[in-house]
């Protein structure tokens, strides 16, 4: 027998709605054929766990990637990557990307008429430590308009991409900031229809980790899928 202990299915309350027409780019890009259940095999429970050794420590500080300091509000963003059983996800690559303080991405296709900051790219990488902990220093991103509907503005957010030990744990999400007035109007945020699940994408202000005279801190713990309790029986 070569049955493996698979990963738990993501429950519907923890997933964005499918399809979700309020997000205008969604309806023509989501499959209509029913998704087929794929029982996990060795292919699914493995994944790229090595090869992150080329991440440099300075990639965690997005304010020190150029000659001068970027404009905007300096912040610390930190937290732990865990699985559903609360186990730390160790040695795992975390990639982030974001707009600058004015709400402008460095990306050449971003045409929002807000200034580019020559001292800010907005991309960072880190590898979690043995407690699953990661920490970035960056600039608080601005809100930006995106033409999804009349007067559409994205709430300030940082994109996060995580790898766990299994390719099936792969997660790309967005971290939001507490109390953003744009939350009720943003279809991407509200594509997660369960309020408790939505709140898991909002960081918390962290006074303990805030550094006096230097930077506010926001805490963002990320939970990836956990293992099935026991290998499933074959039928």
């Amino acid at each position: 027998m070569s049955d493996v202990n698979g990963y738990r299915i993501v429950t519907p309350d923890s997933a964005p709605a499918h399809p979700f027409p309020d997000y205008r780019s969604n309806p023509l890009r989501v499959p209509k054929r029913p998704l087929m259940i794929l029982p996990h095999t060795l292919t699914e429970v493995t994944g790229p766990v090595y090869g992150h050794e080329n991440v440099r420590p300075e990639e965690t500080d997005l304010t020190r990637q150029h000659g001068g300091e970027p404009l905007g509000e300096r912040i610390v963003v930190h937290g732990r990557v865990l699985d559903e059983d609360g186990r730390p996800v160790r040695g795992s690559l975390v990639e982030i990307w974001q707009a600058n303080a004015a709400g402008r991405y460095i990306h050449q296709r971003d045409q929002h008429p807000a200034p580019i900051d020559p001292n800010f790219t907005g991309a960072g990488r880190a590898v979690t430590d043995d407690d699953g902990y990661y920490r970035f220093v960056t600039i608080k991103p601005g809100a930006y308009p995106w033409r999804n509907h009349h007067n559409a503005w994205r709430p300030a957010h940082i994109h996060f991409s995580m790898f766990g030990p299994s390719f099936m744990q792969r997660l790309v999400t967005q971290m939001y900031f507490p109390g953003d007035p744009l939350f009720p109007f943003d279809p991407i945020f509200n594509s997660v229809t369960d309020e408790k699940a939505r709140n898991r994408m909002i960081s918390t202000f962290d006074l303990d980790a805030t550094q006096p005279e230097w930077a506010l801190a926001f805490k963002f713990d990320i939970v990836l899928r956990g293992r099935e309790a026991t290998p499933m029986e074959e039928h």
Binding site: R29, V49, R109, F167, E234
Partner: protein
């Protein structure tokens, strides 16, 4: 038990962080053992239009059918020249390609053997959660008994997972997000 953090779209502006400098379009490099292959194709939306802002990630076993991962306890050798993981973006015409070696077969559930395959995840603006699928290779004898392929009743859906052999190690495989020739995606 904690609950999972929900997925959100990768958005239109991921390239500068994920694929401009961290693209991996060659899983094998020069040292890997095995038969070199190229997988190339398009990503198309429900109108048949190319998707120019898509990221594709792949994961596969080496030529012997061994994953470079602690949970692969098969008595097969890890190939230090083989990465197993790839990440590419589509170009403005919705095209992508990556180079690798033909994967070996790996065990399936129970006592089954899986045909050579590549695990695929698709990320794009508009997709709130990534899509999961697999690439199989045309002409592989094990395709006829593969437990995943044989579980797909509809022939068109089954064929959507099989890359066409164009000769000289080139395989063509389109990702059709929606429509008549829609790719079979998985709840994985």
């Amino acid at each position: 038990m904690s609950k999972t953090t929900p997925s959100q779209t990768v958005g239109p502006f991921f390239h500068f962080a994920l694929t401009d400098t961290h693209e991996i379009d060659d899983l094998a490099g020069t040292e890997a053992l095995g038969e070199r292959i190229v997988i190339e194709g398009h990503v198309l939306d429900g109108d048949g239009e190319p998707v120019p802002d898509c990221m594709i990630e792949v994961w596969q076993a080496n030529a012997e059918g061994k994953y470079d991962h602690p949970e692969d306890r098969q008595d097969k050798a890890i190939d230090l020249g083989f990465r197993g993981f790839g990440r590419v973006a589509t170009d403005p015409e919705g095209r992508f390609h990556f180079r690798t070696v033909k994967p070996g077969s790996v065990p399936g559930r129970g006592n089954t053997l899986q045909a050579p395959h590549i695990s695929v995840q698709v990320y794009a603006r508009g997709l709130l959660k990534q899509l999961f699928t697999r690439i199989y290779l045309e002409g592989e004898p094990l395709n006829d008994t593969d437990p995943v392929l044989t579980a797909i009743d509809e022939a068109a859906a089954r064929m959507s997972l099989i890359a066409k052999n164009r000769g000289d190690g080139h395989y063509h495989w389109d990702i059709v997000l929606q429509g008549a020739n829609e790719t079979q995606f998985f709840e994985a």
